[in-house]
Point group: none
């Protein structure tokens, strides 16, 4: 009995996994709304009723997928230890990011589900989704706050920083699984870090003037810089040719930083 019961349990779990896997595929392909239970069971090769042995309804299956993926995503993220770091904070950040990318890239279907359909299913689901993002935002916000305190992160409206980072990550991952961006987790992570490090991490030490990117005049002074900030609010008509990379370039190891916006 125990033996048999255990076997059954295992069998059941396997069946459920199978159904989930099929559901994931179809949801990813056709979207939640474009997927009927029939589609799922057809792919799984089981009868319609079988589906309902494992899930209360279509939504529940979808929810299971999303919950599961969110859980694993969450598992990728570790708090960044700045007190007694065994690893530099930025390294820790990078590791987080790398894990997230690796997970996402290894599960394109799950990612599709989460990014494309997870919103607008119904009120309850939206709440759940909102809760996930709220949690993520809060974590990131707090991390940024710490970062700002210790000078790792530049100042600025953290809500915006978080949103831009999260949104950017979502988009790049979505593109990546569609083959429109590097599908290698490490390469991707590197690129993202480049973006973040220049955008979120504190800029290089002063002594150098930096253009105010908000259009206001910078008061920072370096050899007499942002004088005309007001008028031009912007950028010089630089002419120098930098950036030697052509076309679709992906010059990761390109040492020449092309005219950083700010400088330092």
């Amino acid at each position: 009995m125990t033996r048999r019961g255990a076997a059954r349990e295992a069998q059941k779990r396997r069946r459920r996994e199978h159904l989930l896997a099929c559901a994931r595929e179809v949801f990813a392909e056709r979207g939640y709304h474009g997927t009927s239970v029939d589609d799922i069971v057809r792919r799984a090769g089981v009868a319609r009723g079988t589906f309902y042995l494992y899930f209360a309804d279509r939504r529940a299956a979808f929810e299971a997928l999303v919950d599961d993926f969110f859980a694993r995503l969450t598992g990728c993220i570790r708090s960044i230890d700045v007190a007694h770091p065994t690893e530099p904070p930025v390294s820790q950040l990078r590791a987080n990011l790398q894990r997230v990318c690796a997970l996402a890239l290894s599960e394109p279907a799950s990612l599709q589900c989460v990014l494309r359909d997870a919103s607008g299913l119904d009120v309850e689901f939206d709440r759940k989704l909102a809760a996930f993002y709220r949690g993520l935002y809060r974590f990131l916000d707090e991390s940024l706050e710490v970062g700002q305190r210790i000078g790792l992160v530049r100042s600025g409206d953290r809500r915006v920083m978080v949103a831009l980072a999260v949104g950017g990550l979502k988009q790049i991952l979505a593109d990546a699984v569609r083959g429109e961006a590097p599908a290698d987790a490490d390469a991707l992570t590197d690129e993202i870090m480049r973006f973040l490090s220049a955008g979120l991490l504190a800029p290089p030490p002063p002594g150098v003037e930096r253009e105010r990117c908000d259009g206001s005049a910078a008061t920072t002074r370096s050899e007499g810089a942002a004088r005309h900030a007001k008028e031009t609010r912007g950028i010089a008509k630089s002419t120098g040719s930098r950036g030697s990379d052509p076309g679709e370039s992906r010059q990761p190891k390109n040492p020449r930083r092309a005219a950083g916006s700010g400088s330092s």
Copy 2:
């Protein structure tokens, strides 16, 4: 007759607009899939059949909304003139961004429609959506390429940069219309520019070692940087080669924490 015909035309156009406006509201509230034709006509105060006098089907109405919004969005974006700029490129960029933000914030419903449901409707619609984004991406990619060539934009995988920027923008706008981020177009633009300028635009001139964001150590060097700060408003046409290193390494010996968050 002509007179009357014209009046009729106008009347017709007005009614169509009315229907679209109602549809926009409901779609934004409940999502495409959660919105029935009934919901729309109920709000519009017309009969169900009337809807079909103006739109081929439900999808067509949604498509019209999205098309329209995309058209206006596209209208916000002007090519950045780097050849004979009357305005610094960054300014032009900023202006583009500001217009997009202003438009988006002034039409939360349209934004919701585009961001929440525009995906997963059906194959044809996805194609249209993909086309829009492809166009946007291409434009941005080309812009970035020019930017890279003239040293305004740092080097890097442009696909990634574009994705991060676009994704970030989508997210921040979505948050903004939900009241979770600054809802003022200018303030928002400023914040985004800060992010972009530090993240997409060429980094500051060297002379300062900077932690490699890919985790490797870097002793960035730049020879004489912010010389032209004035003209370039702070952006050096640095040429120095930085990052000479390999591997996954993090920023081991980078003691100098670069200038605090607030930059000035």
Copy 3:
């Protein structure tokens, strides 16, 4: 518009009636549980969706039938006026009964629906049903009470009398519509009145000993009868003469109200 609107309304009402009539037939034939919406619309010659334009669901249609029938049944029943009767109470009773029988016999299908299926549909429906019967019971109970007070009705547990009367009526009507009992309302009424008048109405004056129907020996003694009214729950020997009239005459000259059935 008004004209057309009115016509539409009428048309709609007619359609609804048609659907109800078909539903009534099928429900009566196959029972509620044996009837699918398909059965109904097939008989009505309309599409499935049409049904749902007129009724929220199958249950609602059934409910409408039952409600309607109950309403008409209720309409058959008039309070019996004993204060200033223009008609002898028994006549009034008979008239009530006759109307009920006539209605029931004229609507065999409705009767079937009510008697066969109205119970056990769901909790809410059961409540409604219970409410109807409770009302009926209360009405009858009160009527009997009055009857007892004025000596028209024998003494006894009114709950039992009511139940027996109601149950008997239900059964005889059910049988009648099935052709197993007189299907003529008047004949049926006569028979029922015979039953009731001998069973519910006060028995004739004593003078005659009568067997105890509870199986015990009767100790009653005739012309000294209602002595033990108290113990035996008997009835007063009212003497007032009521109803002295002819025609549909009720108990004209029967002044002597006799001791209860069990007498004494």
Copy 4:
């Protein structure tokens, strides 16, 4: 083997009984249509398949319950011996009734099953039910006929009398198990007998005019009646032919009231 076989048989029978008992409970609670096989096996604590080892299908279980209860009900009813009665016929009738009441009250669940759902299951079941009632009706009809012949039962349309009696009994029992009527078999029997004796049993001797219950006036006359009240416990074993109606008689306009119950 035999031993073991016997034990097995017993075990089997016991399990079947258990299942039946559980089924009875659930059917009584939720009605046939509201009860799933799952409900039953869940209550019984066995697996679903097990149910089908003991019953062909759900209907069969229900049928078994009803059959069983009907059999026991039938067992309660003994033919009334009027030829050589050891007990007065009315006593015998009362005893029958008492047994029926006692059984019904002792098995509320069975009663519920029979009264609530026994109709409308399916054609075959309806036939069975009809057969039961036909048998009961026939028995009662014949009994009444005898009763009429010997003067125990008043004249009248026996179909109506039977229906009223059966219907009344059903209703009062249903009410009783629901707590809305005396739940004591003896008390209940007494009350029913009071009803019946005044309604079905021959009325006391005439000599008294009585209102016609069919609404018409009547000066019923009866020649010297309840002489033998003692022996017959009030019911004369009159042999005089009253009610000249034979068989299925429906003597509406029959002036001779066969010993009107109330008469007088």
